[in-house]
Each structure stands twice: as C-alpha cells, then as structure tokens.
Amino acid sequence: MSPTDEAPVLTVRGLTKSFGSNAVLRGIDLDVSKGKVVALIGPSGSGKTTVLRCLNGLEMPDGGTVALGGNGTGELRLDFGGRISGADAGSRKDAGSRKDAGSRKDAGSRKSAVSGKNIAALRDRSAMVFQHYNLFPHMTVLQNVIEGPVKVQKRPRGLAVEEAERLLARVGLLEKKDAYPFELSGGQQQRVGIVRALALRPQLLLFDEPTSALDPELVGDVLGVIKELAEEGWTMVIVTHELGFARQMADEVIFMDGGVVVERGPASEVLREPQQERTQQFLQRLLHEF
C-alpha cells in the first residue's frame, strides 16, 4: 500500500445535532484515512446512526465541520457553524494543524447555513447502505444500480450497465439483474444495496447496521461482501451490532454513548480491553445476550 493510503478522506470536528431539546450528538470528532474501516458501536440511542446520517446530509447537523476528500478532487468542507459545545471546544485544540487554520479562515461564514448545493456535493462523494435496504421496488435490480450513475451522474448508459453487471457478478447476483426487489431474499437485496452504493464510485461508503434486518443465516453473505470491500481498500464507516465482524474488519472501533465518543482505538483494544466503564458494561451486556 502506498503512503497516500494515510491521506484523510473524512475529517469531522465537533458535530452536534439536537432533535428538539434532545441533544443526540454532543460534539463528535471522527477521522477516517483512505482505505480504513471505522466501526461505530454503542447502545441504541447513542447517536451512532445520526452521525452516519449527518455525513450523508440526511440530517442537517446543528454545528461542527465535515471535510471530505482532499486527494486530487479537492477537499469539500462543510461548516455547519452554530452552537459549539464544550466537548467540541476540547477537540478543536487537539485537531491542531493545517485543517484548523483553514476553519478559522472561513470563520466569517460560520453562521451562514450550508446550502443544498453543498449537501448535494457531500452526497456525491459518499454513498449509503441502509438497514432496510431501501431498494426502489418499481425498478429491476439493474435499474436500481444504474439509476444514480445514469440519471444523476449523467454517465453513458452503456458504460453504466457494463459496470453494474460487473459489480453484480462480483456479489453473485448477475443472473438476478432483471428481477424486482420483492423477488429477492433479504441478503440478496442488501447485496444489491451495496452494489447500488458502489456504482456511484464514492470516496466513502457508509453502512447503517447493514445486517440488522437480516435472518441470521443470511448475515454471512452480506458481511462477506463488506469484508471483500475492506480488503480492496474502500474507505468505510460502519454502524454495526456485529462485534465479531467489527473486531475482524475494523481498523478503528469507536464506542458511542449519550451522543459522545466514550472510547476509541484499534478494534482489538476497544473490544478486548476496554478502558472505560461504560464500554465494559456495554460489551458485558452484549456478551450475555448471546
């Protein structure tokens, strides 16, 4: 692997989000380098899915910055400004460096809202795989996959079809290309969901509990595909309950609770020797469940 593998693909600082009076995110920092896999774990309601949704513009953060890209294509930097929480103030110090200087420079625009155009640019560079697949039921498998490339990215249809077929073949679903989603099992639908995301050629893949809705015997297929993508060097952020999977694949595991990052580090450390009491409790509870 070349040294550019360490280039940051995603840099998040002080991300905050409230729903009404409920502060769901209280200043989240996140760094993901090229080709790395970050697993977000934590109890439900901890805010991990909200982090993912903010990264794809499905939720508008109240504050913080999200920077994406920075290799060749130029960095996309969104400053959501607004309420900077205490947790964020701390993180800004250790962020240090070049990036922070940049953010101070456009501090003048800190209060200005991030426009729809910026959100569109954010979506252009990342792609999301949903817990409930969210395939388009009125389109065939192939149509689902080429919809984004052809209708949004305006790539030539012939090339998009070729690429879609190659990707479908990779996940073993080429012969299902003319099927409608309802004709597929959950595991097959989720693999189509992954292919639909890949076809957008994103810099960053986001997975929101990709196996939670699946029957246990179908989980393996989907995890297998995700594992291959990791080995291929895709940059990914995965919200998951599959701790074994997180331990195997993730370069970094982040444990969230109550809208803050409680603990972060290499998978082996966080999952085997958690330092924080809350992490230990969470892992204990999960172990007892199984």
Binding site: L58, A127, N134, L200
Partner: protein, 221 residues
Amino acid sequence: MSVNWDLVWSSLGPLIGGAIKGTIPLTLASFVLGLILALIVALMRLSRNVVLAGIGRFYVSVIRGTPLLVQLFVIFYGLPTIGVRLDPWPSAIIAFSLNVGGYAAEVIRAAILSVPKGQWEAAHTIGMSRGQALLRIILPQAARVSVPPLSNTFISLVKDTSLASLILVTELFRQAQQVAAFSQEFMALYLEAAAVYWVICLVLSTAQSRLEKRLDRYVAH
C-alpha cells in the same frame, strides 16, 4: 306497460352520439386537466411553505364542501354578471376539472405520503434532487397506490357530466331528455340512458383492473 322498442332502437344512435361527442370528450378533458391540477395542489399541500399549503387546503375544502351543480352554475350563470361570459363547453370543462382537482388532490397527497420515507432517503443518497426523487422514485410508486381511488373519481366523473345537460351541453343525457320530451316515453329513454352510462362504466372498470395488474408487477402477491 308496453315498451316502444322501435323508439328505443331508433334513439340509440342519438344517445351514443351524445356519449361520443359529449360525455366522453368532456370526461377525458376534465379528468386530464383535473389530474394536473390535483398534482399541483397535492404538492402545494405537502410543501413546507405555509402559504402554499394553506391555499391548497382552502381550495380542497371549498371544492369538497360545495355541490358540483352549484359550482357549475356559478361558472356558467354566475360569472356573466361580473362580465365573464363562457360558452357551455368551456364552462363545463372548467367546473369538472376544478372538481376533479379537489378530490384527486387528496388521493395523490395520501398516495405520496404512503411511500416510505426510506425511498426519499435512498433517492437523496444516490444524489437526486427533490424534484428528481419525486418524478423518478416517489410518483411511480404513488401511482400504483392511487389507481383504485382515482378510478373511482374517473367513473364518478363519467356520470357527473350528465349535470352539464343543465348548462346546455349536448351530451348523452341531454339527448335522452330531448327525445323523451318529444316522444313522451320518459321511462324508456331514461332507462336507455342509464344503460349506456352503465356500459361505459363497465368498460372502464375492466380497464382499471388491467391497469392495476400491470402496476402490481413489482409487488409480492
């Protein structure tokens, strides 16, 4: 009671003529215009803009809260007093379109809302704008849900166009009235008119089930 079959037979021509030249074009034109209007009103009602949403709600409320016959008379007999003089045909098309617009707007709004939120989200994550998502992802799915209720609206409209006879549009029922008045065979002529309406609606019901089947091809049975 003896039925004058000769009269029934000889009046069939004028009645079907009235359907072909009056009832059917009036229904089609009003339904198409009404659906376009309904889509606009449905989107207004779903918009975050309170003014637009309010206007949409007011419109639906007025249309659904007043009799179609009154709407028709306001346009044909009422508007001339403020200087707007419309011929029978335009009056009828405007009245029926406005009416369909009000009823179908609610159907379309409900159908759009019935599409799961995850479909909007998936459309956005592949980079679609709101407009693109609506056209390519949401409306095709809403269409499937709205076929049965919109078919009801359509079939009601076929029969409601008989009201246009009261503003001098020569359609199926007005033809029947004229022959009946001339021959004094009221029972025969009005039953005959009813039969022609019924046949038209039977054809439409068949078309509806075919359309539903076609649109159902992508859902599990």
